[in-house]
């Protein structure tokens, strides 16, 4: 029986061990290194597929559970398992990583083995974050994730990489240590580090609010939410393309995942009483950061700001449910479900679209070594295939119906209407602002006359780039046209979560 295999452990440790092997193989045979890395990443993706196909979407219980004692004195366990919330994110991780490896194929000339190894190790660690059911195990993976990313930005990044990577590290570290204290505090309340036991833990409102704030510091930095988002544009701009992709596609999701796994179920009353805070922060992110994106001259920075705005939708969807619930008086109303599911769909879809957008910029950057919009113009004349892809992804980024970008945003806006017209109104402005900044960038970069001699000599995408962008385009299209399987997978878990959240712990 395939479900009896330690699939989660395999998905975590295969890339980590593979990464160490790649690291040990050194740079003497760069091609062998690249192929090894790709094979490891592909195998990891294959090994994660049983999670999707063997998943029982009828239950909210944890599946593929693995449990062993790790540090018995503190009841810390090696405790893994997935539900409908974490499983799609794991698949997203294992899906994106091979693409990142391919995208860095011959582009990375400086120490390719270390580059590939860093991404593989990070893949394993990120899967670990999504599958941990022990709070300390979660924290270990959560922090360990910083190390490879720190190195990736610092070694293969742009000119200002040192500033960006130290800022990235310290911001995230700052956010997470307070979560650590909150976890320890709950350990003494519940007697174990089991996250599911934390869910049932009775806490007073004051305790809940303090714990909620500690979690908020960790997750808000990661998401990132306004006003702690400032590390993201720096990190994105300086990171190599692959680093940006992983950051935007997966790392940001870890913050959103944290809200669903920790904040909402552990501190439902605090989440309820502080929902106005999160909702305002989210709306500021959606509207204000949208305008900030409009003003950017640097393509990567523009996409980074657009990521923040899109992630604002995710947190909005998660916390709007409290308003819906208090108005409708029940926890499982479809409006509430719509909000959280919309947020989740938005996370997965943003994983594809932002990855694709950063890869598009990477394609241009590899040829021109510039990310400035002003340096481009008329690219469509020399790179027609590429232009088609980029326009498609830009449309998806702007939320065009038929693409995955539309589904999540639409669900969240619908849910917001149940809560309050003005929330929905503000959220819906993103359809205009988002279209404005994305399409304006497209217009300036792709269309018009050929801007300069450099653009005139551009060559269209090679097959490697075509594979990467093509795969993502299919994913964006499928999710946009037929999101039902994804929603079905998470339905039971999210309904259960909302049922749990609607019952006050006081």
């Amino acid at each position: 029986m395939i479900a009896d295999w330690p699939i989660l452990s395999l998905t975590i440790w295969l890339p980590i061990i593979g990464g160490i092997m790649v690291l040990a193989s050194g740079d003497r045979e760069p091609n062998a290194t690249r192929w090894t890395a790709l094979i490891v990443a592909a195998l990891t993706f294959v090994s994660s597929l049983p999670l999707w196909f063997g998943f029982d979407s009828g239950t909210a219980a944890m599946q593929f559970v693995e449990r062993a004692s790790w540090i018995s004195q503190f009841k810390i366990e090696y405790y893994l398992g997935v539900d409908g919330i974490s499983m799609p994110l794991i698949i997203l991780t294992t899906f994106i990583t091979p693409l990142v490896i391919i995208a860095g194929w011959e582009v990375i000339k400086y120490r390719p083995s270390q580059y590939m190894a860093a991404f593989l190790i990070m893949e394993g660690v990120m899967v670990g974050v999504f599958s941990s059911l022990d709070a300390m195990l979660f924290y270990v993976f959560w922090e360990a994730m910083l190390i490879p990313m720190f190195i990736i930005i610092g070694v293969w990044g742009g000119p200002n990489r040192v500033y960006a990577t130290i800022k990235f590290f310290l911001y995230t570290f700052f956010g997470s240590v307070f979560m650590l204290v909150a976890l320890i505090y709950m350990f003494f309340q519940s007697g174990s580090f089991d996250i599911l036991e934390f869910h049932g833990l009775k806490l007073t409102l004051t305790e809940q609010i303090l714990i909620f704030i500690a979690f908020l510091m960790a997750f808000a930095v990661k998401v990132p939410m306004w006003p702690v988002h400032t590390w993201l544009p720096d990190a994105h701009v300086e990171a190599p393309t692959g680093g940006s992709v992983i950051l935007a596609a997966i790392m940001l999701k870890i913050g959103g995942y944290g809200f669903l796994r920790f904040s909402l179920p552990i501190t439902p009353d605090a989440s309820h009483s502080l929902d106005w805070l999160i909702i305002s922060m989210s709306l500021i992110a959606v509207v204000y950061i949208g305008f900030v994106a409009l003003a950017q001259q640097d393509m990567k920075k523009l996409i980074a700001y657009s990521s923040i705005a899109h992630m604002g939708f995710v947190t909005l969807g998660f916390f709007i449910v409290f308003i819906i619930m208090s108005e409708s008086g029940s926890g499982t109303g479809s409006g509430a479900l719509l909000g959280v599911e919309g947020g989740m769909v938005q996370m997965v879809s943003h994983g594809f679209i932002s990855a694709a957008m950063f890869l598009c910029v990477g394609v241009l950057y590899d040829r021109m070594h510039s990310r400035q919009i002003d340096d481009y113009g008329g690219v469509v004349h020399t790179m027609p295939v590429f232009a088609a892809f980029m326009v498609f992804f830009a449309m998806a980024n702007a939320g065009l119906p038929g693409t995955s970008g539309f589904v999540g945003e639409f669900m969240v806006i619908l849910a917001s209407f149940r809560a309050d017209f003005w929330y929905a109104f503000l959220a819906a402005t993103t359809l205009i602002i988002g279209a404005a900044y994305t399409l304006w960038m497209i217009k300036r970069v792709l269309f018009g006359d050929v801007a300069n001699d450099n653009v005139a000599t551009l060559e269209d995408m090679n097959s490697r780039e075509l594979i990467v962008l093509g795969t993502l385009a299919v994913a964006v299209m499928v999710l946009g046209l037929w999101p039902a399987p994804l929603v079905e997978v998470m339905d039971a878990s999210i309904a259960n979560l909302l049922q749990h959240v609607s019952i006050s712990k006081l």
């Binding site: 540090i71 360990a144 910083l146 610092g154 130290i166 310290l170 650590l180 320890i184």
Partner: protein, 484 residues
């Protein structure tokens, strides 16, 4: 009077180390300079044997010998083995350094072994007198070791500072001890805790005594505001000696604290809300973490930076002790042992980077290390992340267990202060990583460290990761040491 020789069994490790020190002293007299490796060999083999003997005499129950002034218990077993092994590694790193600088002399090992003996005695002391004897034996050996490079002005200055301040601290400690003796009429720890339980004591004198004892202790630990000697001594002493001071003696300082505060003054009730010595330790711990981490940021010399980082780690060790629970002592002990390992590795790297006529003391000397030696850069990376407390390295678990202990006694705010300062600490540790990985090297000469140093340094770096993956083993040793 009948003499029962079986009482000597618990003190066999000390007897052995004392004999070893004397043998080294005598043998060395008959050796020529080029044969000095024999002295080194005897010392190292002896230290391994000492560890084996300490393990052999270890047993679960506590033995108190010499009229109650000496104790062998689970804690002393663990700490002695740790001290011998840490000293072994420290001497191993030191060998090439001493050779290259004309300091490869027998006296280093004699003094070193006497320091080890002093630490052993501190670990096993069961009365104020014995603990003071051990402390002074350690301190006097260290004063001489700091000035071991007799042509170095910096070394002489550091030794002088260390001596004056150390003597002052010893004086404080002795003064405090005399007051406690005056109030209770005993210097034995076990009798002391019974005496303290009786209600008709002169609390005023005891409190004064306690304050002086804690001050003396803080001096020895290098806790703020009694830390002024630490950076100067770490900087001025030969790196081989700094390595020894920063690793092995911290274990002894931990033993000193536990013996004095837990075994000796654990029962002391204080007027005014604070429980016993906890209040004082909270202040010391918070100041140490704050000042240590903040000032370390401004350092350009790695030895000084590591000195301030030591101060901040001492703050964390004190956090564990001040919890005053079984878990607290266990966590503090875990932290101390882990710190000793990390500090060995950190200063070991400084030694491995240096060569004849070149001391890799400036932070800039670490620029581009990943180009010059990717492997050792990776080891240093592990050590630095461990010191910063980033999982999956063991430094994280050391901090986690201490924070656990602090939160368990309802001092969550102290834990918050601790993690806040550890964020500041993270900055200067990752700055080293930045220099090693993101900057271009200033000189391209390869590392000249010998094979033994390379192997042990690699093991040292990897152990930080391995212990981080599987911290349960070391933790259960520490738990057992406190009868858990």
């Amino acid at each position: 009077m009948h003499f029962d020789s079986s009482i000597l069994i618990p003190v066999l490790p000390e007897i052995f180390v004392l004999t070893l020190a004397c043998i080294v002293l005598v043998v060395d007299l008959f050796l020529k300079d080029e044969q000095r490796i024999i002295t080194y060999g005897i010392t190292q083999i002896g230290l391994v044997f000492a560890a084996v003997i300490a393990l052999a005499v270890a047993q679960p129950d506590t033995q108190v010998v010499f009229d109650g002034s000496y104790v062998r218990d689970a804690m002393s077993d663990v700490l002695k083995v740790a001290i011998y092994l840490v000293s072994f590694v420290a001497f191993l790193y030191a060998k090439d350094y001493l050779k290259d600088r004309g300091m490869f002399k027998g006296e280093f090992y004699t003094l070193g072994l006497f320091a080890v003996l002093g630490m052993s005695i501190m670990v096993s002391a069961n009365s104020f007198l014995v603990i003071y004897l051990g402390l002074e034996l350690l301190a006097l050996s260290l004063y001489a070791l700091v000035a071991f490079n007799r042509d170095s002005k910096q070394g002489a200055e550091a030794a002088m500072k260390y001596f004056v301040l150390g003597a002052l601290a010893s004086g404080m400690l002795l003064y405090g001890i005399s007051m406690i003796y005056g109030a209770t009429g005993t210097i034995r720890f076990d009798e002391l805790s019974t005496a303290l339980a009786s209600p008709d004591l002169n609390n005023m004198v005891l409190v004064f005594g306690l304050v002086f004892v804690v001050v003396g202790l803080a001096f020895k630990f290098g806790a703020v505001p009694f830390h002024m000697w630490v950076p100067d001594v770490y900087h001025g002493a030969p790196t081989a000696v700094t390595l020894f001071i920063s690793s092995a003696t911290k274990i002894a300082a931990f033993a000193l604290a536990v013996r004095l505060l837990k075994d000796g003054l654990g029962e002391l009730q204080m007027p005014g809300g604070w429980e016993g010595w906890q209040g004082m330790l909270i202040i010391l711990a918070i100041l140490s973490m704050g000042v240590g981490n903040l000032i370390a940021v401004a350092q350009t010399n790695i030895k000084r930076m590591l000195a301030y980082s030591t101060i901040s780690h001492v703050g964390f060790i004190l956090l564990g002790i001040l919890a005053g629970t079984q878990e607290g002592y266990t966590a503090a002990m875990f932290y101390t042992l882990v710190y000793a390992i990390m500090s060995l590795g950190g200063f070991g790297m400084v030694i491995a980077m240096s060569r004849r006529g070149f001391e890799a003391e400036r932070l800039d000397d670490y620029k581009g290390l990943s180009h010059r030696s990717p492997w050792f850069a990776a080891m240093m990376l592990l050590l630095m992340f461990s010191m910063a407390g980033v999982p999956p390295t063991v430094g994280f678990f050391a901090k986690l267990f201490v924070l656990d202990a602090v939160v368990s006694v309802d001092l969550t705010w102290v834990a918050l202060v601790g993690v806040f300062f550890s964020i500041i600490g993270a900055f200067y540790y990752i700055r080293i990583i930045k220099l090693m990985y993101f900057d271009k090297p200033l000189d391209d000469s390869p590392l000249t460290a010998g094979l033994d140093t390379r192997i042990v340094l690699s093991l040292n770096g990897l152990s930080v990761l391995a212990l981080g993956m599987f911290p349960a083993g070391l933790l259960s040793i520490c738990t057992a040491a406190f009868g858990g």
